[in-house]
Amino acid sequence: MMRASPFSYFAPITIGEVAKILAGEGPRALLLAGGTDLIPNMKRRTQTPAVLVSLRRVAELRGLANGRIGSAMTLSSIAESPHLSPHRALIRAAAQVATPHIRNAATLGGNLCLDTRCNYYNQNYEWRQAIDFCMKRASDGGGHPVRNEDGVCWVAPGSPRCWAVSSSDTAPALIALGATVTLVSIAGRRELPLNDLYCDDGIAYLTKPSDELLTEVVLPDATGWRSTYWKLRRREAFDFPVLSVAAAVKLASDGTVLDARLVLGAVASHPLLIAEAQELVGMPLSDDAIERLAAAAARFAKPLDNTDFALGWRKRVARAYVTGALRELRGDDPATLGLLARRATALRPLS
């Protein structure tokens, strides 16, 4: 029997009203966008907000122009948007979330603020109760999970922190694209590089306070950039990533790397920006350079078994994926890059 606990519901029309309600209700309130993550979580009682603030009627959040994407845009509309085709990593990431039905409801804002995941946490109430609640726990009547001082981490007993995994597909892609986000509260608005929105902690995974709402994502000019997103999952649909690689490079006309970003998803509590990507700058994307970066990135990929049971496999694929993604950006024939690249090619938006 899975039912959400009772909550009250607001459906404001403007961003200002949303901010006001959030300020008034405090951490009891949560924003409801597509609800594809929040509603199942409420039924399992891993998120138990006393107040839901729906974004459905806030038209201001649904714009898409000049590299600015409203946070309530659905993932399907993003995946199909011709305006976004220069930002290939985003399109590919959005197109590979869950299933078509879910993408039709799911929003970009919800995907970026997606709760971190763990096999010991994404379970129903009774299951978690039976093994004793772990360190991450739904707060009573509050939206965001809190730290349970009596609980241990079942993944890494003895560990002082929670290792729940960031499983958003679009977050790594947008960080690789250099996106910033706009946050609004009654105190005003501010812009933040997307990477700074995330915290390396499975419980407090966002740096923003709960009274702030994410209104839009701003993409820098993509001229000269190439980007891609490779997602590892066990099936061709439905599944959260068990590893993902987002890569973007800016190339000079002679192939010299002018700038580069590499982000790994689903291997830590936040999207993992690999600083070593900067070492590519100033040289061509040679096989050697690619291999060096892939090896370095794989060292950072330390998946735990709390979302998928296999570790060695994902670590191995991490290296191969970084290599594949960078070779794709170099312009290698996708047909030589295995099943994943073929799938990615099939996802290329119609132009």
Binding site: M1, M2, R3, T99, N119, N122, Q123, N124, Y125, E126, W127, Q129, A130, L232, R234, R235, E236, A237, F238, D239, F240, D308, F309, A310, G312, W313, R316, V317, A320, Y321, G324, D333, A335, T336, L337, G338, L339, L340, R342
Partner: protein, 718 residues
């Protein structure tokens, strides 16, 4: 007007697609309360105490343990051996074993109450997998010829061991029942999602000490079974009935997916060992086979799963000297149980991988090796059954080879590793050996002023029972299909036509209905048109209000079986099949995908070709899942991936192109020649896929599921 062989509208289809069909969770009764099961949290141990928190308000809760079983009733789940209790008394033998039942009018309060119940155990050492299991629950041997002599004739001896994992049936609708106590306090009615109402009735009678007039069981619209609702509903119905009797109110118990996954039955994990003597030209001369199944903590249906597994362990191959030793071993895990194929998919997975190994060692083409040894009419099986008529092993292989025309490989090298694999198999229809005689199933027809109504305990669980039975009766009576309706399976209304299992519902029960139809025809006297049929039946009905024609199973004369020696005619008829699978393996992710699967199966006669093909496509896909994706991860005796995020089945995008071809070599004792179709499609695909992976990668996997991590390990070890 004939409808057999035509794709008529599904009898219950409209109700299902319009949402009118009522599943168990759609039903409600006045005063109904909700039940819940408190289960063991250790794999094995003695129960020291069950304590309720005195500080908690227990008002409004009904609690029941084994002591609530009424005098005259027994705490035993009626199956083959009397070893499994409905509720643990002083020991538990597996995780999730039911100990206590609790009910309340508000289902929300159940979890809260459970948190205030404390069970203390003295844990005992537990055996958690087949590898460590030593206690034998059932053993059997099938022999033919003289193994020593066989090996003496062999040029070569080939050995191999093969392993298959547990698998969840994953019906869309989880297990659920509602028990309604009678006003007299001495009777009970149970409604529920189930395959076998009469099994449930028998279990309730034993539990409550009631007779068949006091226990009524009604099947509600059922969202799939695949064997998973063969034996388990007996336990669930017993639990709901105990609560209902204690509370004096109707009790609903519907499992959520987690409970259904961790607590109910799965396919038996298996270890199959082969030692085979072959001659240089590929002739099999000696087959020594060991079949070990993990039965879990209690015997349940394992002995019969074992017998089907063992009889099918040779595959459809002839050998003069054979010994099959089968064992069910006990582990402290939830009992495994019936699942589409019933042991035959496991044992035929073994032989089909082994055949490819033999071919490789001899340097013979795997298809040629099969052609050399496949059964033909006149051959004698390991149980001494002489096969004659409707033996299509060669034909299905030939037709599969023709159908599975090689696709052109992409010109560009794309780095993917590709391979093609084959498997041939057979599947006995109906209960094994003397089973059908013991069942003595009955089914019948009731004449009503408007039409003809079938009275049959066989259930519609999505496979098309009602449609197919109505077709058989309509054509036998030469009346329109639309004139035939089916009574709901209700033990108070329909006779016991035996369980809806074992690919028997068409071949065996369909035949009984056909005979009932012939009895009806006889009573009516000759008629030439459907209208005349109607006139005559009205005339007959005018004399008597309700007219029923009940027929009983009639053993085809020439079948014999000896249970003591495992010799004789194991099955009246066999379905024959061949799969060819194309597989791609990605050398970067180590993921294998089945891209194309051909399934050619002889089912005697397709009463409803579309439904028959649907059975074959669905069964094949279930086997693809078993081969590549579905892994029950056990930790400390409990399923660790008890949700569909981690226990994954193929989605549409993971589904290969499935090419189905039906072969119709009739079985004279089946209705219109029909044999069984339901289980057979699961027997071959897993082996065909693994044989294809072998060809694609050069590595030999001997265990399923062939997950990327297993493929990676095997490729690393190369």
């Amino acid at each position: 007007m004939k409808c057999v062989g035509k794709n008529v509208l599904r009898a219950e289809g409209e109700d299902k697609v319009t949402g009118r069909a009522k599943y168990i969770d759609d039903l409600s009764f006045p005063g109904m309360i909700y039940g819940h099961t408190v289960r063991s949290s250790v794999a094995r141990g003695r129960i020291l105490s069950v304590a309720r928190d005195p500080a908690f308000d227990w008002g409004g809760f009904t609690l029941v343990d084994h002591r609530a079983i009424p005098p005259g009733g027994r705490n035993i789940v009626a199956m083959i051996v009397e070893d499994q209790p409905f509720l643990a008394v002083d020991e538990v033998r597996h995780r999730e074993e039911p100990i206590l039942l609790i009910a309340h009018a508000d289902p929300e309060r159940l979890a809260e109450a459970v948190a205030h119940i404390e069970v203390h155990y003295a844990p005992e050492p537990a055996v958690l997998d087949l590898e460590h299991a030593t206690t034998v629950l059932k053993e059997l041997t099938i022999s033919k010829g003289d193994l020593e002599q066989g090996f003496a004739q062999a040029d070569r001896v080939v050995e191999g061991s093969y392993f298959t994992g547990a698998q969840e049936q994953l019906y869309i609708e989880p297990n659920g029942v509602i028990a309604v106590p009678g006003v007299d306090g001495k009777s009970i009615t149970v409604y529920g999602s189930m395959q076998c109402p009469y099994y449930v009735q028998r279990a309730l009678r034993l539990l409550l000490g009631l007779d068949e007039t006091q226990v009524r069981v009604v099947q509600t619209t059922t969202g799939g079974g695949f064997g998973g609702k063969e034996e388990y509903p007996s336990i669930l119905a017993g639990h709901a009935a105990l609560l209902a009797c204690a509370a004096g109110r109707p009790v609903k118990m519907v499992y959520d997916r987690l409970e259904d996954l961790v607590a109910t039955t799965k396919r038996h994990p298996a270890r199959i060992r082969h030692r085979t003597g072959v001659q240089r030209d590929g002739t099999l001369v000696a087959m020594e086979i060991e079949v070990d199944l993990d039965g879990g903590a209690y015997v349940t249906l394992s002995p019969v799963v074992l017998s089907r597994a063992s009889i099918h362990a040779t595959g459809p191959y002839r050998a003069p000297h054979v010994r099959v030793r089968g064992r069910v071993l006990q582990t402290n895990t939830p009992p495994t149980g019936a699942f589409r194929g019933f042991g035959a998919p496991q044992s035929q997975f073994g032989i089909e991988l082994h055949m490819d190994r033999i071919a490789e060692e001899l340097g013979i083409d795997p298809v040629a090796l099969r052609q050399k040894n496949l059964y033909a009419s006149g051959d004698v099986t390991a149980t001494g059954q002489r096969l004659d008529g409707s033996v299509s092993a060669h034909e299905v292989l030939e037709r599969a080879l023709q159908r599975h025309v090689k696709k052109k490989r992409p010109k560009k090298k794309d780095g993917l590793l590709r391979g093609t694999g084959v498997a041939t198999f057979f599947h006995g229809s109906g209960f094994t050996g003397g089973g059908e005689v013991k069942l003595a199933s009955r089914a019948g027809i009731e004449l009503t002023p408007r039409n003809v109504r079938l009275l049959v305990g066989s259930t519609e669980i999505g496979q098309g029972t009602r449609t197919m039975h109505a077709q058989i009766v309509a054509d036998t009576l030469a009346i329109p299909y639309e004139w035939v309706e089916t009574a709901d399976p209700d033990t108070a209304r329909v006779p016991d036509s035996g369980p809806t299992v074992a690919s028997r519902t068409c071949m065996v029960v369909g035949r009984i209905l056909q005979r009932a139809a012939l009895d009806l025809q006889q009573a009516l006297g000759p008629y030439r048109t459907p209208d005349e049929f109607r006139r005559r039946s009205r005339k007959l009905l005018a004399k008597r209000p309700a007219l029923q024609f009940i027929a009983q199973y009639d053993r085809p004369g020439d079948i014999r079986w000896d249970d003591a020696t495992y010799q004789g005619d194991a099955y009246g008829a066999y379905a024959w099949g061949c799969n060819i699978a194309d597989v791609e393996v990605d050398p970067i992710t180590y993921q294998a995908r089945c891209t194309r699967l051909t399934a050619v199966i002889d089912i005697g006669k397709a009463i409803h070709p579309l439904l028959a093909c649907g059975q074959i496509e669905g069964g094949s896909l279930q086997a693809v899942g078993w081969a590549l994706y579905e892994e029950v991860v056990m930790r400390d005796g409990r399923m660790a991936n008890g949700q569909l995020t981690n226990y994954i089945i193929p989605t549409t995008l993971d589904t290969p192109e499935i090419l189905v071809e039906l072969v119709e070599n009739p079985y004279p004792h089946g209705p219109f020649g029909a044999k069984g179709v339901g289980e057979c499609p699961v027997d071959g695909p897993a082996a065909a896929i693994l044989n294809a992976i072998r060809q694609a990668t050069g590595v030999r996997l001997n265990a399923i599921p062939a997950t990327p991590e297993k493929i990676m390990q095997a490729m690393d070890a190369r």
